[in-house]
């Protein structure tokens, strides 16, 4: 039982970086503590350097519970790029306020370590450990603004609901083990296949309990209650991390569980997740329309976006590899196309909020005149979240429609109908922010926007990425990352 160290190299690098950052924090004092940020960024870059050569490989280690294939590599690249972007928007924000910087960067790296494990895990226990590694640092990071009641509220809500969801999921896992006698995903798929058309109700209950556990992580309605309050109370870079990276990790786990382990029962979970998708996007968009606080608007918009990402799950059919591949492909494309502009949007909010404390939509008035670059960037990001050209968001929505057409069931057309209606609703509140930024005059005596070099660079890179993927969507869409996964690897 030799361990394939090449396959786990990115995780090892991130672990070493996390420990190093914690130790460096103990040695350094005051101003020097912000060196933890570039150190973390170097670690993320090295991990990225170890991840990219794994592209095209098929590796399996730890008795088949840890798999590296193109599916895992795509997610790992998304996570590491998100980590770099979040480090970029965190630096000044955390250095200028009196935060516990060393602890923040340590917790951030540990959380991303869990995320890197998530798309590789092919065993319920490893998936559970990965999910916990993602969540536990998140609870602490949400409460990092000590003595701020909103931050404490964010942390306690996130913690209580997170622990509850994990308990439900563990209960489901234990029953699933009782029914199938294994925790490996492909083993479960085999065992479930033998139940045939009349599975016991308790088996279906345990299946749905496991899915509910992930439902909390991706903040799907009706498991979304924690999300808006937690995003609004956390430090803004942490909100960006929760809205993008943590949600992506939830989807990585959910895809593995549903499309590998529970594939024989797609007839049960696909309609359930389809209904959740409709509820999630509709409620998320309707509530987002009412928001005045920019972070809360982005929080509710991220709830709605989770609904879009759930649509392909509603298309899954047992045994139809073609439709399932198209569905997984559409979800992965949508996740990548959502991560880039959403981190960017949070980055612009950090730029506006830092030093000034501005966070309502009114505070963005006249941004076009005060800081044209940030206004252009925010416009690009919001258009992409809505799904308008010239941004990648257009192709993301297109990929979902394409997967729906491939499936061609009645449920698929119902889902696509709701997707289109909701896209129109979403444009109302995205464009309202754009209108406020360009058409309204700012108040007298507003503090100037000072984003800083790091934040500007990251924002520019994300704008570039948003537009580049519009021109060349094939960079993600033409890959065949979902083939291995649907084949059960």
């Amino acid at each position: 039982m030799a361990i394939d160290f090449g396959a786990i190299a990115p995780e090892l690098v991130l672990t070493a970086t996390a420990i190093l950052v914690l130790m460096v924090d103990l040695v350094l004092t005051d101003q020097a503590k912000q060196l933890a940020n570039p150190l973390s960024a170097i670690g993320a870059l090295v991990a990225l350097g170890f991840t990219l050569p794994l592209w095209g490989d098929e590796r399996s280690t730890f008795g088949g519970s840890f798999v590296v294939n193109d599916y895992a590599v795509v997610f790992k690249v998304v996570f590491l790029v998100s980590l770099l972007a979040i480090l970029g928007i965190s630096w000044r924000y955390f250095a200028e306020s009196r935060f516990f910087q060393g602890e923040y960067y340590f917790l951030l790296l540990v959380s991303f370590l869990g995320m890197l494990i998530m798309p590789s895990a092919r065993d319920l226990l490893l998936l559970f450990i990965a999910l916990e590694t993602v969540s536990l640092p998140g609870f602490v990071m949400a409460g990092l603004r000590k003595r701020d009641l909103y931050s404490s509220e964010a942390a306690i809500k996130f913690f209580l609901i997170g622990v509850l969801s994990v308990a439900l999921m563990l209960f489901g896992i234990s029953m699933m083990y009782g029914f199938t006698g294994t925790t490996s995903l492909s083993g479960i798929a085999q065992a479930l296949g033998q139940w045939g058309a009349s599975p016991p109700p308790l088996l279906l209950a345990s299946l749905l309990l496991i899915i509910v556990g992930f439902g909390f992580k991706i903040s799907a309605v009706p498991f979304h209650f924690w999300a808006p309050d937690t995003y609004a109370g956390s430090p803004i870079p942490v909100a960006a991390m929760l809205a993008v990276a943590s949600k992506t990790a939830g989807f990585a786990g959910l895809i593995a569980v549903t499309f590998i382990a529970f594939e024989p029962f797609a007839g049960v979970w696909a309609p359930a997740l389809g209904v959740l998708a409709i509820l999630t996007m509709t409620l998320g968009n309707l509530v987002a329309m009412q928001q005045r606080d920019m972070v809360r608007l982005l929080a509710w918009s991220s709830v709605a976006q989770a609904g879009y990402m759930l649509i392909p799950f509603g298309l899954a059919v047992t045994g139809n590899a073609e439709v399932n591949e198209a569905a997984v492909q559409a979800t992965i494309f949508y996740i990548a196309a959502y991560a880039i502009p959403n981190i960017g949007a949070f980055g612009v909010v950090v730029a506006i909020n830092r030093r000034t404390g501005y966070r309502s939509i009114e505070d963005f008035a006249g941004l076009g005149g005060r800081h044209p670059f940030m206004a252009v960037a925010m416009t690009t990001f919001l258009l992409s979240l809505g799904g308008a050209p010239p941004t990648v968001g257009l192709w993301a929505k297109f990929a979902i429609v394409q997967a729906g057409a491939e499936s061609g069931t009645v449920l698929a057309y119902v889902l696509l109908f709701f997707l289109i209606v909701n896209s129109v609703i979403a444009f109302y509140y995205y464009l309202k922010v754009v209108w406020v930024m360009w058409m309204r005059e700012g108040r007298e005596g507003m503090a100037p926007v000072t984003p800083g070099v790091n934040l500007s660079l990251v924002t520019a890179a994300l704008v570039f990425g948003t537009v580049l993927l519009f021109v060349l969507p094939g960079l993600i869409a033409d890959t065949t990352v979902s083939t291995d996964l649907v084949a059960g690897l």
Binding site: M1, I19, L22, M23, L26
Partner: protein, 128 residues
Amino acid sequence: MTGFYSQWGTFALLVLFGIGLYALVMLANRIFRVNLPHPEKLTTYECGVDAVGTGWTQMNIRYYVFAFLFVIFDVEAIFLFPWAQILGNLDASSPISPTFVLVEMFIFIGVLALGLIYAWRKKVLEWE
């Protein structure tokens, strides 16, 4: 279906019997006991010693930190025992080399020790 009802019927009988027994015992207690109220009897029982303060007394946060550190190293011990048992049975012919297993555990202990160093540098070990 009869099997279902007879199984749950047994359970229902057990529940009813339990409730009945409890009611009977409490009733007998009420009938036969002597009743001598005294304010002393209403105080909190604390190992036979007089209770100090109320239940809402604030504890020093340091107790919490020490409890935390204790739990961490307690859990470490849980991992150490099975590890030691397995390590003793390994030799050159086993599929995994004993040296590797030994180094692995010391990495684990090392990471935990880093936690202790962190606690020490953050001055939570000092009782001021």
